[in-house]
Symmetry: C2
Subunit: 450 residues, 2 copies
């Protein structure tokens, strides 16, 4: 377009009135905002106008590219093999990254994983991995590339120089009521994922009570927006919309989740983990397809799940952990990474069948136990959490344990119990009414950019 770029006020008014902004205008906004030349109040007004009027696919792509360009990208030119990323929008009991990373790596795919901390009621991969004594995630991008080259797998924190514009913009969205918008969320996620210099990306977009997008329609819209950004950037994307109504697997809490992941990596089949295995198979299967290591998602899932039984995924995990500084004696020899000093059993108050376990309540309860943060940068307690003894479809008799709660301070249990106590929905099916069964496949939809 030959048109003269609009200034910031004209851009706010244009977006307010439902017009598209040009890529140059969005780039100038991100540049000026990051440099402090565009004041926060104008950025806030633009964000709220975007909240109401939306972003076109072209605008979402342009915003992503502008935020990506505000920082550095990982240089993986010395790392051989297809680089396939994986990202989850956040859930409760979500160990999918801990499992699919080593599963895909064991099949010859390189998995560069720049992760975040827990957000709100959801856990974060970095927090989980740091429950392993000695393991460091604060790696430079050079060390990230080195570990990746050596083991095919590396988990590190996003460094400050990756998409700094997104960090600044997210902080503003957080205090101006402009977080929950699919286009803005998509641009934020993808500006960081594209910094990984990927060949392909599998997105696990959560939908349900325990997800940031409660309904499948919203999650699907978000998945489509991210797949489109990937396509425009030349990165193949497969986005799976998966259920996050109840926690994935049976353990929630940082060390507890690493333990459950290790059990699966050892080829065990711990109770309550069918949903987790199903999501891992689908995600890792899609990673193998994008990485050229499988022809179909089904073949990919079968190959990936086989690495749990043959020990090759465990070997990759241990190699990664060692390269990232883990205390290997503890990790190899101990069955447990440690145990919170106290434990409380939550019991059923009536006979019936579990119709649902509210992931949001479990996540919020675990935050109160100390597994997550109520304020930014607060320390967390890696050992606390919840072990689910009953999940959806299970029968429960009055007095039977629903969950075991691990905690350190009685005050934390006291704060968590009223929340955790509401999580289990136990019903006595009326005569003739169907008894709720275990949920169907947790994979609700698959969106592909190609």
């Amino acid at each position: 377009m030959n048109r003269v770029d609009r200034d910031m006020l004209a851009c706010i008014e244009a977006k307010r009135d439902g017009q598209e902004l040009t890529s140059r205008e969005l780039a100038a906004f991100v540049r000026d905002f990051t440099a402090g030349r565009c004041p926060d109040y104008q950025a806030a007004a633009l964000l709220m106008a975007i909240y109401f009027q939306g972003l076109s696919r072209r605008e979402t792509h342009a915003l992503t590219q502008a935020m990506l360009a505000s920082g550095v990208r990982a240089d993986l030119s010395d790392v051989a093999g297809p680089k396939i990323g994986k990202h989850s929008t956040g859930g409760v009991g979500d160990k999918v990254s801990l499992l699919t990373g080593p599963m895909a790596a064991a099949c010859g795919v390189v998995v560069p994983k720049l992760s975040g901390r827990g957000l709100g009621h959801t856990g974060g991969t970095l927090d989980k991995l740091e429950a392993i004594p000695g393991l460091r995630t604060d790696l430079s991008l050079r060390r990230f590339a080195r570990v990746l080259g050596a083991t095919g797998l590396c988990f590190a924190g996003q460094t400050a120089d990756i998409a700094p514009a997104d960090k600044k913009l997210y902080a503003l969205r957080d205090v101006t009521g402009t977080v929950a918008h699919a286009g803005l969320i998509a641009a934020s996620i993808m500006s960081k994922k594209l910094a990984e210099n990927l060949d392909g990306l599998v997105l696990d977009v959560k939908a349900g009570r325990g997800a940031f997008m409660p309904d499948a329609a919203g999650a699907t819209e978000l998945a489509r927006a991210m797949a489109d950004i990937g396509a425009r950037a030349g990165v193949r994307v497969t986005a799976l919309v998966t259920a996050m109504d109840e926690p994935l697997g049976a353990r929630v809490g940082n060390a507890l989740e690493v333990e459950e992941a290790l059990a699966l990596l050892r080829g065990e089949e711990p109770p309550g983990c069918a949903d987790l295995q199903a999501v891992c198979g689908a995600v890792a299967g899609a990673m193998l397809v994008l990485g050229g290591r499988a022809a179909t998602p089904g073949e990919g899932a079968a190959r990936a799940l086989a690495t749990l039984r043959d020990g090759s995924a465990l070997a990759r995990f241990l190699a990664m952990a060692e390269a990232q500084g883990a205390d290997m004696a503890t990790l190899r020899e101990a069955r447990r990474l440690g145990r919170a000093p106290r434990s409380h059993v939550l019991r059923a108050e009536r006979d019936g069948v579990v119709a649902g376990v509210d992931a949001l309540a479990v996540g919020r309860g675990c935050v109160r136990l100390g597994a997550g943060r109520l304020v930014k940068n607060a320390p967390i307690d890696p050992l606390c959490g919840v072990i689910l003894r009953k999940k959806t479809g299970d029968r429960a008799a009055s007095g039977e344990p629903l969950a075991e709660i691990r905690y350190s301070e009685p005050a934390q249990l006291e704060a968590a119990l009223p929340i955790l106590g509401t999580a289990w929905d136990i019903r006595m099916p009326e005569d003739g009414a169907p008894v709720p069964g275990p949920p169907p496949s947790p994979v609700l939809a698959t969106i592909s950019s190609t």
Copy 2:
């Protein structure tokens, strides 16, 4: 409501989601924003959410009261007689305040008038009055009350201590694309008018190309919102929606407009002023009804217009001017307040009938000549402006003067001409097609709070 007040972020989210804010929440927002405790970026996000979701009548009233409470009110307890205010939302060639103030005062109504400067393409009463040598408008509220008691009429600038919250909020709206919203405009205007401690208020809400509200529906909505605020505050309001498609009267520019007003006050009937007289009759008539000096709008208009012929309105104007420091020799003896050094005649390029004179183009052209401001607090040239020789419905032959342009610097004429040149819409009616006549009554609607 017993509900706990929401914090600022929760208020932004509630408004974003279409919920009402409580009066306490709006009062807290205004208080915190004025005191610097609510950051600009949160205020900007709230304003943009209001732009999209609107304000209920109760919310608009609460916002007005909160902004009013941020400052002082004029103490007019020593001034006898009904205090009836008048406010215009801004037009081009709008001398209605200069005329209706003395007209109503001559009929026994007290007219306390706190005015503003020109905004955008529209003129401001303060700028016009200051074209009279010596006349001061920067009066304290005590002097304002004294002049009012002595002459029944006083024009002064809004002092910094009247509704400071509105000043700060308006400055933010101005740079965040949140000016053009009826509820916010209504609250802004009324927070200042209520500080005049009025018994009644007549609003002249302009609609048309040269108004801030281009369509009559929007202007009517704004008029209703302001009438409702007045009713809730115990002030009777009559709001007239009047046409602002072409300039009112024949002169635009500060000294030129004062001259035209003085000619009307002397009982003359200068060409092109029928629309101006009609609006003045309606506005002053409504002021007399609210002030108990007329039983009906028609009787009020007749009484008010009679003060132009009997010299009583002129006497009030001169008394006010003298009390506000005007150089009375110049004002009484000279036919002109001064004359810009240069003049240019704009001529018709074809034969036809004037179908319209675009008030927005005339207003913008006059700003380029120096009659208004392109940046805040810039000095203005009181003598420049435009004298319209042809208005809607007039026949024009090719080469005939459409307007006389008064200016000081050739560069200013050069900047104004391309804009002014587009203002006259001259058409040759096709055979059988109706020739555009002069516009019907400029009063489009009357809204009353009682």
